[in-house]
């Protein structure tokens, strides 16, 4: 069964500093991976997606993520954090192939931004 672990429940970063949010996945085969962001009292918004190919993928608002098969990881990065990035970030994995299109989410990481 597929699973996602986000080891950090909360990360605090100063505005303007760089950011890395960690994600480890478990999946037998080639995964499809996603990062979503959830602002207070809103649904999830897709930040970026990885389909098999280039391991570094670019997303919206300056976010990028790097897929590593050897480390079973898909960490999210941003070079310079803005106060508006304060939100909960979810990593998710989907199976590839066949007709199973279920997403499995991690528990999320709350990003807080200090002045």
């Amino acid at each position: 069964a597929q699973s996602v672990t986000q080891p950090d429940a909360r990360v605090t970063v100063s505005e303007g500093a760089s950011l890395q949010l960690r994600c480890k996945y478990s999946y037998f085969g080639t995964p499809y991976l996603f990062w979503y962001v959830q602002y207070p009292r809103q649904g999830l918004q897709l930040l970026l997606k990885y389909y098999p190919g280039d391991p570094v993928v670019q997303g919206v608002n300056g976010f990028e993520a790097e897929f590593s098969k050897s480390n079973s990881s898909f960490h999210l990065r941003k070079a310079s954090v803005h106060w508006s990035d304060w939100a909960v970030y979810f990593c998710a994995v989907s199976s590839s192939g066949g007709s199973n299109y279920k997403l499995t989410f991690g528990k999320g990481t709350l990003l807080t931004v200090t002045p």
């Binding site: 996602v4 499809y32 996603f34 979503y36 009292r41 809103q42 649904g43 999830l44 918004q45 897709l46 997606k49 389909y51 979810f90 998710a92 989907s94 590839s96 007709s99 199973n100 299109y101 279920k102 997403l103 499995t104 989410f105 991690g106 528990k107 999320g108």
Partner: protein, 114 residues
Amino acid sequence: EAGVTQSPRYAVLQEGQAVSFWCDPISGHDTLYWYQQPRDQGPQLLVYFRDEAVIDNSQLPSDRFSAVRPKGTNSTLKIQSAKQGDTATYLCASSPGWGAYEQYFGPGTRLTVL
């Protein structure tokens, strides 16, 4: 292009009451998902449809929860007799399906069961 819409946005019930949630997916998306998101947790899949057919409802508490998508467009999720443990946000998502794995989420319905 309009996004996924859900109603109501909020619901407050007493235990034992029934409630229905409605979802309108993005036009042309054949796959529709219902998730339960307890506070401070990630979304957990309840059921999903391709067109009007249920593909997976293995995580749906079948004694009290039901979901339909009769014409392959809008969908309704119903809780027959709510319990305090059902307190959560219920999210609907849709996907183009067949080769597209990303899902697009609605704003959710925040349910509180007293």
